[in-house]
């Protein structure tokens, strides 16, 4: 029976061609990213492109290299090989991995926002929530207390953080609120690129949904380019325009989010999608 169906022929989809209609250059372009940690090849030659205003989802199991790739995008780590370009003023055509530590820090502070799964990585737990947001602005050189205050308040408000608690330390807040503080900090300077590393993992389902709502609303209102890493297909499906499926340091499949979920090609993606559905 199976054999009978099996003769139906090749099911390899037609290969895609480079963009023809969209002439905008990708905002983010990574090529040939390789990274080895001892014996383990965390990234085995990864290419990625993200267009302005787009949300790229990256899915994969633990150890697939998705978080390593995101850390590279945030210039926290340098690969053994590969290049990274952002189409932003002053840095066009420049491999960002060649920047020195100071340049990286300034670039990250001004251009890249990040929300970590673990708020301890992104927040100073003892400082006030508004102060955590203000720090970003201080690094960028803002020296007016009133402006700091206003901008921190605006960013927290945009993240739907309850303003009466804006001066409470994150240590006293719930997980969902901590993620909102991280988000406010990330968007305070209107970043070119927003990186999200499992931003809702570990939150209650209802809280997770609310945080995703906020992210989605911000994305639509401000057309922020985002890269979202998650092992949760539901999160990716809600948020992403395109998705990249990673396994063992390689991209095994990428495509429009509905296509990857409805017509997955790679055995691993099929397994992933069917396990979830």
């Amino acid at each position: 029976m199976t054999a009978a169906l099996n003769i139906a022929g090749d099911a390899t989809p037609l290969p895609l061609v480079p963009p023809q209609l969209v002439t905008t250059q990708p905002l983010l372009r990574m090529e040939g990213i390789r990274r080895r940690f001892g014996e383990v090849e965390a990234l085995g030659g990864v290419d990625a492109a993200v267009y302005p205003g787009e949300v790229l989802g990256i899915v994969g199991e633990s150890g697939s290299g998705k978080s390593s790739l995101l850390r590279m995008m945030n210039l926290e780590d340098t690969p053994d090989a590969g290049s990274y370009h952002l189409a932003i003023p002053d840095h066009a055509g420049r491999n960002l991995f060649d920047l020195d530590r100071y340049q990286r820090r300034m670039l990250c502070a001004r251009r890249i926002g990040i929300v970590y799964q673990n708020p301890h990585l992104g927040l100073l737990m003892g400082n006030s929530s508004s102060g955590n947001v203000a720090e970003r602005l201080l690094i960028a050189g803002e020296r007016s207390f009133a402006t700091l205050r206003d901008k921190a308040r605006a960013a927290l408000d945009a993240s739907e953080f309850p303003l009466p608690r804006m001066d409470a330390p994150p240590a006293q807040l719930s997980g969902g609120m901590q993620q909102r503080v991280q988000l406010a900090k990330a968007i305070a300077l209107e970043p070119t690129l927003l990186l999200l590393d499992e931003p809702t993992t570990g939150l209650d389902v209802s809280v997770q949904a609310l945080v995703l709502d906020t992210l989605k609303r911000l994305q639509q209102e401000r057309r922020i380019t985002m890269v979202l890493v998650s092992h949760d297909l539901g999160v990716i499906r809600t948020m992403a325009d395109r998705v990249m499926v990673m396994r063992r340091g390689l991209v095994v499949e990428q495509g429009l989010v509905d296509q990857v979920f409805q017509d997955p090609q790679h055995p691993y993606t099929q397994q992933l999608v069917h396990a979830k559905l």
């Binding site: 530590r101 100071y102 820090r105 100073l124 400082n127 006030s128 508004s130 102060g131 203000a134 720090e135 970003r136 201080l138 690094i139 020296r143 007016s144 207390f145 009133a146 700091l148 001066d167």
Partner: protein
């Protein structure tokens, strides 16, 4: 040829107590510190006959710079006659043969704990401040390697953040002594625990200031005519202590930094913190031949 002919004659101790190699090292680190204003230079803080934390850093800088022609003044919180100041002054004169004075204007070398004298220092004078904790980033970054990287990157956002937090929580900046200040637009220093009153005296000063921490083994400097700017928000101006309207109960001086002295009846009186300034004022009032040099503050206002 004997071995003795190759060595120097034995002496009970080197001039100025420190041995030649220690003085040479500190001299070199001082030159570096002057060359990169505000940058902390590590040095091999030597043993001196005094406990760490009692001014050993300042003492080593003084012992390195002292010559038989030097005139040394040592103050502790503005006073020349405190036990610690007197002991250090006595030690320095004994090991170097230099002269000692209480008069700021007469001194060439001033070692101080927590104050800068009120009389304006000249280009031929050197101020040495004792520093307990030289690292302004200590409270925001306990890891010293990370803190050094932050200095290298001029990454002072977290320091500004502490000031932000103080205003948010208390309505004003609570930092009293050791007010973090940006030197030459590049390195943030802690100006040792001098009061806010004294920080403007470092800005574009005529004299050289050396800050030395013996226990922490760091030397840094504010060379003459160098900008020293306290970290402040553009809409929250820097404020010195509100001592402008206080009057010294003993000398009658006003408009200088005061010590508060609680009274048995629950009240309080004030006494000028720069004790030699007070003494001069009393002597002038008693008709003695004494002059007070130009002061940084006049009527409680910092003079340009």
């Amino acid at each position: 040829m004997s071995l003795a002919s190759l060595t120097r004659p034995w002496a009970a101790m080197s001039y100025g107590f420190l041995d030649a190699s220690a003085r040479r090292e500190i001299r070199r680190k001082l030159i570096k510190a002057v060359a990169v204003p505000g940058c902390q230079m590590p040095y091999a803080s030597r043993e001196v006959p005094m406990a760490r934390g009692w001014g050993t850093g300042g003492l080593q800088a003084t012992l390195t710079l002292v010559t038989p022609e030097s005139v040394v003044k040592v103050i502790d919180q503005g006073a020349d006659d405190s036990v610690n100041a007197a002991s250090i002054r006595k030690f320095v004169t004994r090991v170097s043969g230099c002269a000692a004075t209480w008069d700021t204007a007469a001194a060439t070398l001033i070692q101080s704990r927590h104050r800068i004298p009120e009389e304006r220092l000249r280009a031929d004078q050197v101020l040495i401040l004792q520093v307990p904790d030289p690292e302004p980033l200590r409270r925001v970054e306990p890891n010293i390697s990370a803190a050094r990287q932050m200095h290298a990157d001029a990454d002072y956002g977290r320091l500004w953040l502490t000031l932000y937090e103080q205003i948010v929580r208390k309505g004003r900046i609570m930092q009293g002594a050791s007010y973090p200040s940006l030197v030459n637009g590049r390195h943030v220093i802690t100006p040792s625990p001098i009061p806010r009153w004294d920080v403007p005296k470092l800005n574009m000063a005529r004299h050289l200031t050396i800050l030395s921490a013996g226990r922490e083994k760091r030397i840094y400097a504010v060379p003459p005519h160098t900008r020293v700017e306290p970290l402040v928000f553009s809409d929250r101006p820097y404020q010195v202590e509100a001592h402008r309207g206080l009057t010294c109960a003993r000398s009658g001086l006003g408009g200088f930094f005061m010590n508060e002295i609680p009274q048995a009846d629950g009240g309080r009186i004030h006494e000028v913190s720069d004790s030699n300034l007070g003494i001069k004022a009393i002597r002038i009032a008693e008709g003695e031949d004494e002059t007070i040099a130009e002061t940084w503050y006049r009527n409680g206002e910092m003079q340009p």
